[in-house]
């Protein structure tokens, strides 16, 4: 804004009170300089100027304003001021000035020329504002902003690093991973997926899953999974899907699917992880087949041996020694033991494929326990096996299998109480069931192991070295009892011994 005031008026009115009062009540510091005199001296300054600078009116009169710059004479603003004065133009600068006491203050200086009616610049008016506070805030703000910018840069880099890292994980993982949007369009597929299913990125990204490559993913079960199950918030884990793919053949896959529920840019996206278990299943099947065949083959000569041993037992000459007779008896026992072992192997594979068949017929549980235990007792005379079983109950079940269970439990009881000499076998009625308990006074089983002993191939850690075995027995027993609608469980304490219990429903007459 250019102020052209009549300079004569200034002279006339300088002593005029009301104008003076106005000038003195202004918050800004105001000075007037006389350009007609050499070096543009100050001829007036107002009260605010005095307050602002600490100099009194009398101290500044006649001086050029540059004194305010003290020793700080190299500010670029000086040139601006100089030019403005030279050219008679208005200017506004922010300049460092110093109070009388030496304190720095930032001065927002606005200089306006005053012209006479001839166009000559006679005076300059300088309006000054202490903007120190403002400057401080500006600096702080700038620093704040710089700090924030730095932080943003750091965070952005972190994010990029995270993304890159995540990406590497996804690409390295040995499972196929897909990300779909809410409309089942593929957003990304990892390298494993592309390699396993022999597709390219271009063919896959952006296409609806079910329409990929000749509809090879148009699998009903999978569709149901994604369109029906997933939206209901049920977790989808280990979902088995079998499909005959056009180029890679028949595959069995385990699928995990997850729908992103949390708010944000990833909401409603679907994550799919696919594990190819075709080979695993094939190996399992072959293993089962092998076990089946092996045990069947082994049982054949065993049958013959058993038959001949039994014949021998019938043909014992009259005058044979006691030793001869018992020795022959022992052969028989061990033949049976071998048979049990082979049965365990065979039964494992059948159970695994869910094929264990129970042939149910009524049998007397007291008698079965007595027979089974007596048979075992023959081979282990050092143990006294007490039997208390007077339930007079008939069970509808597979006598052979229940016998196998009792056999297994009693053998274990003997095996895991070395140095002890008794085992107790009880059988009682409990409601509509019979409960059979086999109690030993041996080493017992830790709490930790108790939870796992019925697992397929579990052996309590320290047992493995002392009593090598396959650990199949209890697993099979558990399955057998379960198929008979009973339960099998253990109560045990380290050092005191274990009691294995199982229940069987009593046959209704």
């Amino acid at each position: 804004m250019e102020t052209y005031i009549d300079s004569d008026a200034i002279n006339d009115n300088l002593n005029n009170n009301i104008y003076l009062q106005a000038l003195n009540s202004a918050r800004s510091g105001i000075i007037i300089t006389d350009n007609r005199q050499p070096d543009n001296p100050i001829i007036y300054c107002n009260k605010s100027f005095e307050n602002m600078t600490g100099y009194s009116h009398n101290e500044v009169i006649g001086h050029n304003c540059r004194f305010l710059q003290a020793q700080d004479r190299s500010q670029p603003e000086r040139q601006k001021i100089k030019d403005a004065i030279q050219n008679g133009t208005e200017c506004k600068v922010e300049i460092r000035n110093y109070k009388k006491n030496g304190n720095l203050f930032w001065n927002e200086l606005i200089i306006s020329p005053v012209l006479d009616h001839n166009g000559n610049i006679t005076h300059f008016i300088g309006v000054q504002n202490d903007i120190t506070e403002r400057k401080k805030y500006e600096t702080e703000l700038r620093e704040e902003k710089a700090s924030v910018d730095r932080k943003i840069k750091e965070r952005t880099k972190e994010l990029h690093d995270n993304e890159a890292f995540l990406s590497s994980i996804i690409q390295t993982v040995r499972e196929s991973l897909l990300v779909l949007d809410a409309e089942y369009k593929v957003l990304s597929a990892n390298t494993h997926f592309l390699n396993s299913f022999k597709v390219t990125s271009e063919d896959t990204i952006g296409k609806v899953l079910f329409e990929l490559g000749n509809h090879q993913w148009d699998i009903d079960r999978l569709k149901d999974l994604l369109t029906k199950i997933l939206p209901t918030n049920n977790p989808v884990i280990d979902f088995e899907v079998e499909h005959d793919f056009p180029y890679i053949g028949k595959k069995i896959m385990l699928v995990n699917a997850y729908r992103v529920e949390f708010e944000g840019q990833y909401k409603d996206r679907i994550l799919i992880a696919i594990e190819d278990i075709t080979d695993k299943k094939e190996i399992d099947r072959r293993k089962d087949d092998f076990l089946s065949i092996a045990s069947h083959e082994l049982k054949t000569p065993l049958t013959t041996i058993k038959g001949f041993v039994q014949l021998l037992e019938r043909m014992i000459p009259e005058n044979s020694s006691e030793k001869f007779v018992t020795t022959l008896g022992k052969v028989s026992v061990y033949v049976d033991r071998l048979n049990n072992l082979i049965s365990e192997l065979l039964d494992t594979s059948k159970i695994q494929s869910g094929n264990i068949e129970i042939h149910k017929e009524p049998f007397d549980i007291d008698k079965l326990i007595k027979d089974t235990v007596e048979n075992l007792a023959l081979a282990t005379p050092e143990y006294k096996i007490n039997i208390i079983s007077n339930t007079k109950a008939d069970i509808l079940g597979d006598e052979l299998q229940i016998s196998q269970v009792i056999n297994n439990l009693v053998s274990n009881a003997i095996k895991y109480s070395p140095g002890k000499d008794k085992i107790d076998v009880y059988c009682n009625r409990v409601g509509n069931f019979v409960k059979v308990s086999v109690k030993d006074y041996g080493m017992g089983i830790s709490q930790q192991d108790q939870a796992k002993i019925f697992d397929r191939f579990f052996r309590a850690r320290d047992i493995q070295k002392k009593f090598p075995g396959m650990g199949i027995g209890l697993y099979i027993c558990h399955e057998i009892i379960a198929k008979h609608n009973g339960t099998l469980w253990v109560e045990s304490e380290i050092g005191s011994g274990s009691t294995f219990n199982f229940t069987l429903p009593i046959m209704k007459r």
Binding site: K299, T303, K306, G307, L311, N339, E357, L400
Partner: protein
């Protein structure tokens, strides 16, 4: 008649049953069985399941489908755990699991034969 591809089994069963007083015929080749039983007309057939070429259950179905032989009492002997089910589905009169107990074999045979007699 006993039919099993394993000669050891045939031998031991033959001995066991002859002691019991039965007249025993044996056949190790499953493809010859039908011909043999048509000729010898045994009172009872003891047969294995797992045999090469023709299996026990296949033969059993053939027997049950042949007019002259359909009422022949047949007991299946097998080492398979699900042998029992296979046997009864194919029409067997009894099942013995291998390895068997001598007494069990003789008892089962007696039971089957006496059932037949009762029916007759």
């Amino acid at each position: 008649m006993i039919c099993d591809d394993d000669p050891g089994i045939l031998e031991v069963l033959e001995m066991i049953l002859e002691i019991e007083g039965y007249t025993v015929y044996t056949e190790s080749n499953s493809t010859n069985l039908i011909k043999e039983i048509s000729q010898t007309l045994p009172d009872l057939l003891l047969m294995d399941l797992w045999m090469p070429v023709l299996s026990g259950d296949q033969l059993l179905r053939t027997i049950r489908g042949t007019k002259e032989l359909e009422h022949l009492p047949v007991i299946i002997l097998s080492a398979s755990v699900d042998g029992n089910e296979i046997a009864s589905n194919a029409g067997a009169d009894g099942f013995i699991a291998k390895p068997f107990d001598m007494d069990e074999v003789s008892m089962k045979i007696q039971n089957v034969l006496s059932d037949i007699r009762q029916v007759n």
